[in-house]
Amino acid sequence: MDKKYERGIHLIGRIGLIIGIAFMLGIPAVISAVYDVWPSSITQVMTIGGGLLLMFIPTALAEVISYTPVLGSSAYITFLTGNVMNLKLPCVINSHTLTGTTQGTDEGDTIAAISVAASSITTTLIIIVGVLLMVPLRPILTSPMVATATSYLLPSLFGGMVLSFMNESCGEYIAKGKNLVMILPLVLVFVINLVYPLSGKEGFAVLACMALNVLIAWVLYKKNIIKMVPKDAAPGKSE
Protein backbone atom coordinates (compact mmCIF):
# COMPACT_ATOMS: atom_id res chain seq x y z
CA MET A 1 0.00 0.00 0.00
CA ASP A 2 1.14 3.56 -0.80
CA LYS A 3 2.77 4.70 2.46
CA LYS A 4 1.57 8.31 2.12
CA TYR A 5 -2.03 7.19 1.57
CA GLU A 6 -1.77 4.64 4.39
CA ARG A 7 -0.50 7.26 6.85
CA GLY A 8 -3.24 9.65 5.70
CA ILE A 9 -6.06 7.14 6.08
CA HIS A 10 -4.98 6.24 9.63
CA LEU A 11 -4.53 9.91 10.55
CA ILE A 12 -7.95 10.93 9.19
CA GLY A 13 -9.54 7.85 10.78
CA ARG A 14 -8.07 8.61 14.19
CA ILE A 15 -8.89 12.32 14.06
CA GLY A 16 -12.40 11.39 12.92
CA LEU A 17 -12.83 9.07 15.90
CA ILE A 18 -11.51 11.65 18.37
CA ILE A 19 -13.99 14.25 17.06
CA GLY A 20 -16.72 11.58 17.29
CA ILE A 21 -15.80 10.95 20.93
CA ALA A 22 -15.89 14.71 21.53
CA PHE A 23 -19.47 14.78 20.27
CA MET A 24 -20.42 11.71 22.33
CA LEU A 25 -19.21 13.37 25.54
CA GLY A 26 -19.71 17.00 24.50
CA ILE A 27 -23.45 16.76 23.90
CA PRO A 28 -24.18 15.38 27.41
CA ALA A 29 -21.83 18.02 28.83
CA VAL A 30 -23.62 20.92 27.10
CA ILE A 31 -27.06 19.62 28.10
CA SER A 32 -25.85 19.10 31.69
CA ALA A 33 -24.52 22.67 31.79
CA VAL A 34 -27.60 24.27 30.20
CA TYR A 35 -30.15 22.47 32.41
CA ASP A 36 -27.85 22.05 35.45
CA VAL A 37 -28.25 18.30 35.42
CA TRP A 38 -24.61 17.25 35.83
CA PRO A 39 -24.02 13.82 37.37
CA SER A 40 -23.38 14.31 41.09
CA SER A 41 -19.92 12.70 40.71
CA ILE A 42 -17.79 10.53 38.44
CA THR A 43 -18.38 7.78 40.99
CA GLN A 44 -22.14 8.05 40.32
CA VAL A 45 -21.57 7.60 36.57
CA MET A 46 -19.23 4.65 37.15
CA THR A 47 -21.54 3.04 39.71
CA ILE A 48 -24.59 3.28 37.47
CA GLY A 49 -22.67 2.39 34.31
CA GLY A 50 -20.44 -0.26 35.90
CA GLY A 51 -22.64 -3.20 34.89
CA LEU A 52 -22.94 -1.84 31.37
CA LEU A 53 -19.17 -1.45 31.03
CA LEU A 54 -18.51 -4.94 32.40
CA MET A 55 -20.99 -6.33 29.90
CA PHE A 56 -19.87 -4.44 26.80
CA ILE A 57 -16.09 -3.90 27.13
CA PRO A 58 -15.10 -7.57 26.51
CA THR A 59 -17.60 -7.84 23.62
CA ALA A 60 -16.43 -4.57 22.08
CA LEU A 61 -12.76 -5.62 22.30
CA ALA A 62 -13.53 -9.02 20.76
CA GLU A 63 -15.45 -7.31 17.93
CA VAL A 64 -12.59 -4.91 17.18
CA ILE A 65 -10.03 -7.72 17.07
CA SER A 66 -12.25 -10.01 14.97
CA TYR A 67 -13.81 -7.59 12.50
CA THR A 68 -10.88 -5.23 11.82
CA PRO A 69 -8.97 -7.77 9.68
CA VAL A 70 -12.05 -7.97 7.42
CA LEU A 71 -12.86 -4.25 7.49
CA GLY A 72 -9.35 -2.83 7.10
CA SER A 73 -9.17 0.96 7.29
CA SER A 74 -12.96 1.16 6.96
CA ALA A 75 -12.98 0.02 10.62
CA TYR A 76 -12.69 3.68 11.70
CA ILE A 77 -16.02 4.72 10.19
CA THR A 78 -17.55 1.33 10.96
CA PHE A 79 -16.92 1.50 14.68
CA LEU A 80 -17.93 5.16 14.80
CA THR A 81 -21.26 4.65 13.03
CA GLY A 82 -22.09 1.23 14.47
CA ASN A 83 -24.38 -1.48 13.06
CA VAL A 84 -21.33 -3.55 12.21
CA MET A 85 -22.90 -6.96 11.73
CA ASN A 86 -26.17 -6.07 10.02
CA LEU A 87 -24.83 -3.33 7.75
CA LYS A 88 -21.13 -2.66 7.41
CA LEU A 89 -19.67 -6.18 7.19
CA PRO A 90 -22.24 -7.41 4.62
CA CYS A 91 -21.54 -4.32 2.48
CA VAL A 92 -17.79 -4.92 2.57
CA ILE A 93 -18.05 -8.65 1.86
CA ASN A 94 -20.58 -8.09 -0.94
CA SER A 95 -18.44 -5.36 -2.53
CA HIS A 96 -15.33 -7.53 -2.35
CA THR A 97 -17.22 -10.33 -4.09
CA LEU A 98 -18.67 -8.04 -6.79
CA THR A 99 -15.35 -6.29 -7.54
CA GLY A 100 -13.13 -9.37 -7.23
CA THR A 101 -10.97 -7.79 -4.51
CA THR A 102 -9.81 -9.13 -1.12
CA GLN A 103 -9.01 -7.54 2.22
CA GLY A 104 -5.32 -7.28 3.01
CA THR A 105 -4.64 -5.70 -0.39
CA ASP A 106 -4.64 -2.01 -1.26
CA GLU A 107 -7.54 -2.59 -3.68
CA GLY A 108 -9.63 -4.53 -1.15
CA ASP A 109 -9.01 -1.96 1.57
CA THR A 110 -10.06 0.89 -0.73
CA ILE A 111 -13.24 -0.92 -1.83
CA ALA A 112 -14.08 -1.59 1.85
CA ALA A 113 -13.63 2.08 2.76
CA ILE A 114 -15.84 3.18 -0.14
CA SER A 115 -18.54 0.62 0.74
CA VAL A 116 -18.70 1.56 4.41
CA ALA A 117 -18.70 5.30 3.67
CA ALA A 118 -21.52 4.91 1.10
CA SER A 119 -23.47 2.65 3.45
CA SER A 120 -23.06 5.04 6.41
CA ILE A 121 -24.19 8.03 4.34
CA THR A 122 -27.29 6.11 3.16
CA THR A 123 -28.18 5.00 6.69
CA THR A 124 -27.63 8.46 8.16
CA LEU A 125 -29.87 10.04 5.50
CA ILE A 126 -32.60 7.42 5.99
CA ILE A 127 -32.55 7.99 9.75
CA ILE A 128 -32.89 11.75 9.10
CA VAL A 129 -35.94 11.04 6.91
CA GLY A 130 -37.23 8.75 9.69
CA VAL A 131 -36.89 11.56 12.25
CA LEU A 132 -38.61 14.08 9.96
CA LEU A 133 -41.46 11.72 9.06
CA MET A 134 -41.74 9.95 12.41
CA VAL A 135 -45.37 10.90 13.00
CA PRO A 136 -46.81 9.65 9.66
CA LEU A 137 -44.43 6.64 9.57
CA ARG A 138 -45.11 5.43 13.09
CA PRO A 139 -48.35 3.46 12.33
CA ILE A 140 -46.74 1.73 9.34
CA LEU A 141 -43.40 0.91 10.94
CA THR A 142 -44.90 -0.32 14.18
CA SER A 143 -47.46 -2.60 12.48
CA PRO A 144 -47.26 -6.30 13.48
CA MET A 145 -46.27 -7.29 9.92
CA VAL A 146 -43.26 -4.97 9.85
CA ALA A 147 -42.32 -6.00 13.40
CA THR A 148 -42.31 -9.69 12.38
CA ALA A 149 -40.37 -9.04 9.17
CA THR A 150 -37.68 -6.92 10.85
CA SER A 151 -37.12 -9.57 13.52
CA TYR A 152 -35.96 -11.91 10.73
CA LEU A 153 -33.38 -9.50 9.28
CA LEU A 154 -30.36 -11.54 10.38
CA PRO A 155 -31.43 -14.97 8.99
CA SER A 156 -32.33 -13.26 5.69
CA LEU A 157 -28.94 -11.57 5.67
CA PHE A 158 -26.91 -14.69 6.41
CA GLY A 159 -28.90 -16.76 3.91
CA GLY A 160 -28.06 -14.14 1.28
CA MET A 161 -24.40 -14.01 2.27
CA VAL A 162 -23.73 -17.75 2.21
CA LEU A 163 -22.93 -17.76 -1.50
CA SER A 164 -20.65 -14.72 -1.17
CA PHE A 165 -18.43 -16.83 1.06
CA MET A 166 -18.55 -19.88 -1.19
CA ASN A 167 -16.20 -18.57 -3.84
CA GLU A 168 -12.59 -19.52 -4.30
CA SER A 169 -11.25 -16.04 -4.95
CA CYS A 170 -8.27 -14.97 -2.82
CA GLY A 171 -7.20 -11.66 -4.34
CA GLU A 172 -4.68 -12.39 -7.08
CA TYR A 173 -5.09 -16.17 -6.52
CA ILE A 174 -7.80 -18.76 -6.91
CA ALA A 175 -7.79 -21.04 -3.86
CA LYS A 176 -9.15 -24.35 -5.11
CA GLY A 177 -10.72 -26.25 -2.21
CA LYS A 178 -10.88 -23.17 0.07
CA ASN A 179 -14.52 -23.79 0.98
CA LEU A 180 -13.52 -27.00 2.80
CA VAL A 181 -12.13 -24.77 5.56
CA MET A 182 -15.66 -23.79 6.60
CA ILE A 183 -16.97 -27.27 7.41
CA LEU A 184 -15.32 -27.97 10.78
CA PRO A 185 -15.87 -24.48 12.31
CA LEU A 186 -19.55 -24.52 11.24
CA VAL A 187 -20.06 -27.93 12.88
CA LEU A 188 -18.13 -26.91 16.01
CA VAL A 189 -20.12 -23.68 16.52
CA PHE A 190 -23.32 -25.67 16.08
CA VAL A 191 -22.27 -28.33 18.63
CA ILE A 192 -20.73 -25.93 21.18
CA ASN A 193 -23.88 -23.80 21.05
CA LEU A 194 -25.92 -26.84 22.10
CA VAL A 195 -23.98 -27.19 25.36
CA TYR A 196 -22.90 -23.56 25.87
CA PRO A 197 -25.21 -20.97 24.26
CA LEU A 198 -23.12 -18.54 22.22
CA SER A 199 -25.82 -15.93 21.69
CA GLY A 200 -24.40 -12.55 22.73
CA LYS A 201 -20.85 -13.91 22.49
CA GLU A 202 -20.63 -13.87 18.70
CA GLY A 203 -17.55 -11.61 18.77
CA PHE A 204 -15.60 -14.28 20.67
CA ALA A 205 -16.96 -17.02 18.39
CA VAL A 206 -15.74 -15.07 15.33
CA LEU A 207 -12.30 -14.71 16.90
CA ALA A 208 -12.08 -18.45 17.65
CA CYS A 209 -13.31 -19.32 14.14
CA MET A 210 -10.67 -17.05 12.58
CA ALA A 211 -7.88 -18.85 14.46
CA LEU A 212 -9.36 -22.24 13.54
CA ASN A 213 -9.73 -21.21 9.88
CA VAL A 214 -6.05 -20.27 9.65
CA LEU A 215 -5.05 -23.57 11.27
CA ILE A 216 -7.28 -25.68 8.99
CA ALA A 217 -6.23 -23.70 5.91
CA TRP A 218 -2.56 -24.26 6.80
CA VAL A 219 -3.07 -28.04 7.17
CA LEU A 220 -5.07 -28.30 3.91
CA TYR A 221 -2.54 -26.11 2.09
CA LYS A 222 0.42 -28.17 3.31
CA LYS A 223 -1.40 -31.42 2.39
CA ASN A 224 -1.97 -29.90 -1.09
CA ILE A 225 -5.75 -30.22 -0.69
CA ILE A 226 -6.08 -26.44 -1.14
CA LYS A 227 -4.28 -25.37 -4.29
CA MET A 228 -3.36 -21.74 -4.90
CA VAL A 229 -3.45 -20.87 -8.59
CA PRO A 230 -2.50 -17.35 -9.76
CA LYS A 231 -5.54 -15.79 -11.43
CA ASP A 232 -3.69 -14.95 -14.64
CA ALA A 233 -2.69 -18.62 -14.92
CA ALA A 234 -6.18 -20.02 -14.12
CA PRO A 235 -8.23 -21.32 -17.07
CA GLY A 236 -11.51 -19.70 -15.92
CA LYS A 237 -12.91 -17.40 -13.27
CA SER A 238 -14.24 -18.90 -10.08
CA GLU A 239 -16.06 -15.84 -8.71
Partner: protein
Protein backbone atom coordinates in the same frame (compact mmCIF):
# COMPACT_ATOMS: atom_id res chain seq x y z
CA UNK B 1 -38.79 20.31 33.44
CA UNK B 2 -39.27 16.57 33.19
CA UNK B 3 -36.75 14.03 31.94
CA UNK B 4 -38.45 13.71 28.55
CA UNK B 5 -38.89 17.49 28.15
CA UNK B 6 -35.13 17.99 28.50
CA UNK B 7 -34.50 14.99 26.24
CA UNK B 8 -36.75 16.56 23.56
CA UNK B 9 -35.45 20.11 23.92
CA UNK B 10 -34.59 22.24 20.85
CA UNK B 11 -30.97 22.66 22.00
CA UNK B 12 -30.51 18.89 22.04
CA UNK B 13 -31.96 18.72 18.52
CA UNK B 14 -29.43 21.33 17.36
CA UNK B 15 -26.46 19.58 19.02
CA UNK B 16 -27.48 16.19 17.62
CA UNK B 17 -28.02 17.75 14.19
CA UNK B 18 -24.42 19.03 14.30
CA UNK B 19 -23.19 15.58 15.37
CA UNK B 20 -25.03 13.88 12.51
CA UNK B 21 -23.77 16.50 10.06
CA UNK B 22 -20.24 15.73 11.24
CA UNK B 23 -20.79 12.00 10.52
CA UNK B 24 -21.92 12.85 6.98
CA UNK B 25 -18.85 15.07 6.43
CA UNK B 26 -16.46 12.42 7.80
CA UNK B 27 -18.01 9.74 5.56
CA UNK B 28 -17.98 12.12 2.58
CA UNK B 29 -14.26 12.89 3.03
CA UNK B 30 -13.43 9.17 3.32
CA UNK B 31 -15.53 8.35 0.26
CA UNK B 32 -13.90 11.00 -1.95
CA UNK B 33 -10.37 10.21 -0.74
CA UNK B 34 -10.79 6.48 -1.20
CA UNK B 35 -12.43 6.91 -4.62
CA UNK B 36 -9.47 9.00 -5.84
CA UNK B 37 -7.01 6.51 -4.37
CA UNK B 38 -8.92 3.67 -6.02
CA UNK B 39 -8.51 5.30 -9.43
CA UNK B 40 -4.82 5.97 -8.72
CA UNK B 41 -4.07 2.31 -7.94
CA UNK B 42 -5.83 1.04 -11.04
CA UNK B 43 -9.33 0.15 -9.87
CA UNK B 44 -11.82 0.84 -12.65
CA UNK B 45 -14.62 3.39 -12.33
CA UNK B 46 -17.04 0.50 -12.78
CA UNK B 47 -15.59 -1.35 -9.76
CA UNK B 48 -15.73 1.80 -7.62
CA UNK B 49 -19.30 2.60 -8.69
CA UNK B 50 -20.33 -1.00 -8.05
CA UNK B 51 -19.04 -0.72 -4.46
CA UNK B 52 -20.92 2.56 -3.92
CA UNK B 53 -24.18 1.50 -5.61
CA UNK B 54 -24.43 -2.00 -4.17
CA UNK B 55 -23.61 -0.80 -0.64
CA UNK B 56 -26.08 2.10 -0.83
CA UNK B 57 -28.91 -0.04 -2.21
CA UNK B 58 -28.25 -2.85 0.25
CA UNK B 59 -28.22 -0.40 3.20
CA UNK B 60 -31.77 0.82 2.58
CA UNK B 61 -33.63 -2.17 4.08
CA UNK B 62 -31.54 -2.55 7.28
CA UNK B 63 -31.71 1.24 7.72
CA UNK B 64 -35.51 1.10 7.70
CA UNK B 65 -35.28 -1.46 10.51
CA UNK B 66 -33.10 1.08 12.37
CA UNK B 67 -35.89 3.66 11.93
CA UNK B 68 -38.28 1.11 13.49
CA UNK B 69 -35.86 0.92 16.44
CA UNK B 70 -35.67 4.72 16.51
CA UNK B 71 -39.42 4.90 17.09
CA UNK B 72 -39.30 2.52 20.06
CA UNK B 73 -36.14 4.09 21.51
CA UNK B 74 -37.51 7.64 21.16
CA UNK B 75 -40.40 6.84 23.51
CA UNK B 76 -37.83 6.00 26.20
CA UNK B 77 -35.09 8.62 25.74
CA UNK B 78 -36.69 11.21 23.43
CA UNK B 79 -36.25 11.70 19.68
CA UNK B 80 -32.94 13.64 19.44
CA UNK B 81 -30.82 11.45 21.71
CA UNK B 82 -32.27 8.28 20.09
CA UNK B 83 -31.44 9.80 16.69
CA UNK B 84 -27.85 10.49 17.76
CA UNK B 85 -27.37 7.12 19.44
CA UNK B 86 -28.53 5.26 16.31
CA UNK B 87 -26.42 7.42 13.97
CA UNK B 88 -23.22 7.22 16.04
CA UNK B 89 -21.87 3.86 17.24
CA UNK B 90 -25.12 2.51 18.59
CA UNK B 91 -27.41 -0.30 17.59
CA UNK B 92 -31.02 -0.56 18.77
CA UNK B 93 -30.42 -3.58 20.99
CA UNK B 94 -27.46 -1.97 22.78
CA UNK B 95 -29.27 1.33 23.28
CA UNK B 96 -32.39 -0.26 24.76
CA UNK B 97 -30.30 -2.44 27.08
CA UNK B 98 -28.05 0.44 28.13
CA UNK B 99 -31.00 2.77 28.82
CA UNK B 100 -32.69 0.11 30.95
CA UNK B 101 -29.46 -0.76 32.81
CA UNK B 102 -28.83 2.92 33.50
CA UNK B 103 -32.35 3.30 34.92
CA UNK B 104 -32.10 0.21 37.11
CA UNK B 105 -28.56 1.23 38.16
CA UNK B 106 -30.03 4.54 39.35
CA UNK B 107 -32.59 2.65 41.45
CA UNK B 108 -35.65 2.81 39.15
CA UNK B 109 -37.69 -0.15 37.91
CA UNK B 110 -37.11 0.81 34.25
CA UNK B 111 -36.70 3.81 31.93
CA UNK B 112 -40.44 4.50 31.96
CA UNK B 113 -40.32 4.82 35.77
CA UNK B 114 -37.28 7.10 35.55
CA UNK B 115 -39.01 9.29 32.95
CA UNK B 116 -42.18 9.57 35.03
CA UNK B 117 -40.39 10.34 38.29
CA UNK B 118 -39.81 13.89 39.55
CA UNK B 119 -36.11 13.13 40.16
CA UNK B 120 -35.75 11.77 36.61
CA UNK B 121 -34.83 15.18 35.19
CA UNK B 122 -31.80 15.49 37.48
CA UNK B 123 -30.48 12.23 36.02
CA UNK B 124 -30.48 13.40 32.38
CA UNK B 125 -26.72 14.10 32.42
CA UNK B 126 -25.96 10.78 34.11
CA UNK B 127 -28.09 8.79 31.63
CA UNK B 128 -26.48 10.49 28.62
CA UNK B 129 -22.92 10.11 29.93
CA UNK B 130 -23.42 6.48 30.91
CA UNK B 131 -24.90 5.59 27.52
CA UNK B 132 -21.99 7.30 25.73
CA UNK B 133 -19.22 5.88 27.90
CA UNK B 134 -20.70 2.37 27.82
CA UNK B 135 -20.47 2.13 24.03
CA UNK B 136 -17.08 3.80 23.68
CA UNK B 137 -14.91 0.73 24.29
CA UNK B 138 -14.99 -0.29 20.63
CA UNK B 139 -14.13 3.22 19.42
CA UNK B 140 -11.22 3.54 21.86
CA UNK B 141 -9.97 0.04 21.03
CA UNK B 142 -9.90 0.79 17.31
CA UNK B 143 -8.14 4.06 18.06
CA UNK B 144 -5.43 2.25 20.02
CA UNK B 145 -5.07 -1.08 18.20
CA UNK B 146 -6.66 -0.50 14.78
CA UNK B 147 -3.54 0.45 12.78
CA UNK B 148 -1.55 -2.43 14.32
CA UNK B 149 -4.22 -4.99 13.38
CA UNK B 150 -4.58 -3.61 9.84
CA UNK B 151 -0.83 -3.48 9.22
CA UNK B 152 -0.55 -7.01 10.65
CA UNK B 153 -3.04 -8.37 8.11
CA UNK B 154 -1.52 -6.61 5.09
CA UNK B 155 1.99 -7.55 6.31
CA UNK B 156 1.04 -11.24 6.59
CA UNK B 157 -0.32 -11.13 3.09
CA UNK B 158 2.65 -9.44 1.45
CA UNK B 159 5.31 -11.48 3.29
CA UNK B 160 3.93 -14.97 2.72
CA UNK B 161 2.90 -15.01 -0.95
CA UNK B 162 0.24 -17.59 -1.80
CA UNK B 163 -0.05 -18.80 1.80
CA UNK B 164 -0.44 -15.19 2.97
CA UNK B 165 -3.25 -14.67 0.46
CA UNK B 166 -5.00 -17.83 1.66
CA UNK B 167 -4.49 -16.99 5.34
CA UNK B 168 -6.07 -13.55 5.04
CA UNK B 169 -8.69 -14.88 2.60
CA UNK B 170 -10.11 -17.37 5.13
CA UNK B 171 -10.45 -14.81 7.96
CA UNK B 172 -13.75 -13.35 6.73
CA UNK B 173 -15.31 -16.83 6.55
CA UNK B 174 -15.42 -16.74 10.35
CA UNK B 175 -18.34 -14.31 10.16
CA UNK B 176 -20.68 -16.81 8.53
CA UNK B 177 -19.30 -19.73 10.57
CA UNK B 178 -20.03 -17.97 13.86
CA UNK B 179 -23.41 -16.45 12.97
CA UNK B 180 -25.20 -18.85 10.61
CA UNK B 181 -25.49 -21.84 13.01
CA UNK B 182 -26.80 -19.51 15.73
CA UNK B 183 -29.61 -18.40 13.41
CA UNK B 184 -30.45 -21.94 12.31
CA UNK B 185 -30.90 -23.25 15.87
CA UNK B 186 -33.51 -20.61 16.65
CA UNK B 187 -36.31 -22.64 15.06
CA UNK B 188 -38.01 -23.77 11.85
CA UNK B 189 -39.05 -20.25 10.75
CA UNK B 190 -35.42 -19.10 10.94
CA UNK B 191 -34.29 -22.13 8.93
CA UNK B 192 -37.01 -21.49 6.32
CA UNK B 193 -36.00 -17.81 6.03
CA UNK B 194 -32.31 -18.74 5.57
CA UNK B 195 -33.22 -21.29 2.86
CA UNK B 196 -35.53 -18.76 1.16
CA UNK B 197 -32.70 -16.22 1.04
CA UNK B 198 -30.26 -18.76 -0.42
CA UNK B 199 -32.82 -19.75 -3.10
CA UNK B 200 -33.61 -16.10 -3.94
CA UNK B 201 -29.88 -15.38 -4.32
CA UNK B 202 -29.38 -18.40 -6.59
CA UNK B 203 -32.39 -17.40 -8.72
CA UNK B 204 -31.01 -13.89 -9.18
CA UNK B 205 -27.55 -15.19 -10.13
CA UNK B 206 -29.28 -17.48 -12.64
CA UNK B 207 -31.26 -14.51 -13.99
CA UNK B 208 -28.03 -12.51 -14.46
CA UNK B 209 -26.38 -15.44 -16.24
CA UNK B 210 -29.43 -15.90 -18.47
CA UNK B 211 -29.98 -12.25 -19.39
CA UNK B 212 -26.49 -10.78 -19.02
CA UNK B 213 -27.92 -8.06 -16.72
CA UNK B 214 -24.72 -7.43 -14.76
CA UNK B 215 -26.23 -4.27 -13.24
CA UNK B 216 -28.59 -6.51 -11.27
CA UNK B 217 -25.59 -7.57 -9.13
CA UNK B 218 -26.08 -4.29 -7.24
CA UNK B 219 -29.57 -5.35 -6.21
CA UNK B 220 -28.99 -9.00 -5.22
CA UNK B 221 -28.38 -8.40 -1.50
CA UNK B 222 -31.17 -5.84 -1.14
CA UNK B 223 -33.74 -8.00 -2.97
CA UNK B 224 -32.67 -11.09 -1.02
CA UNK B 225 -33.00 -9.27 2.27
CA UNK B 226 -36.43 -7.92 1.37
CA UNK B 227 -37.82 -11.22 0.08
CA UNK B 228 -36.26 -13.16 2.98
CA UNK B 229 -37.80 -10.84 5.57
CA UNK B 230 -41.17 -10.82 3.77
CA UNK B 231 -41.12 -14.62 3.57
CA UNK B 232 -40.98 -14.73 7.38
CA UNK B 233 -44.65 -13.66 7.37
CA UNK B 234 -45.56 -16.76 5.36
CA UNK B 235 -43.29 -19.10 7.33
CA UNK B 236 -44.55 -17.77 10.67
CA UNK B 237 -48.10 -18.67 9.62
CA UNK B 238 -47.10 -22.10 8.32
CA UNK B 239 -44.45 -23.16 10.85
CA UNK B 240 -44.49 -20.68 13.72
Amino acid sequence: MTFLEIMSSPILFVLVGLGVLYILVFCGITLVRSYRHGLAIGLSKEQLRTAITSSSIYSIVPSISIVVGLISLSTVIGVPWAWFRLSVVGAVTYELISAEMTATGAGFADMAALGASAEGASLVGTVMFVMSIGIMAGVIAILLFGPRIMKGVSGLRSKHGAWGALMTGVLSMAIIEAFLPLQLVKGPVYIAVVITSVVVTVLQLFLIKLTGWKWWNNFIMAVTLLVGMASSLLWTNLLG
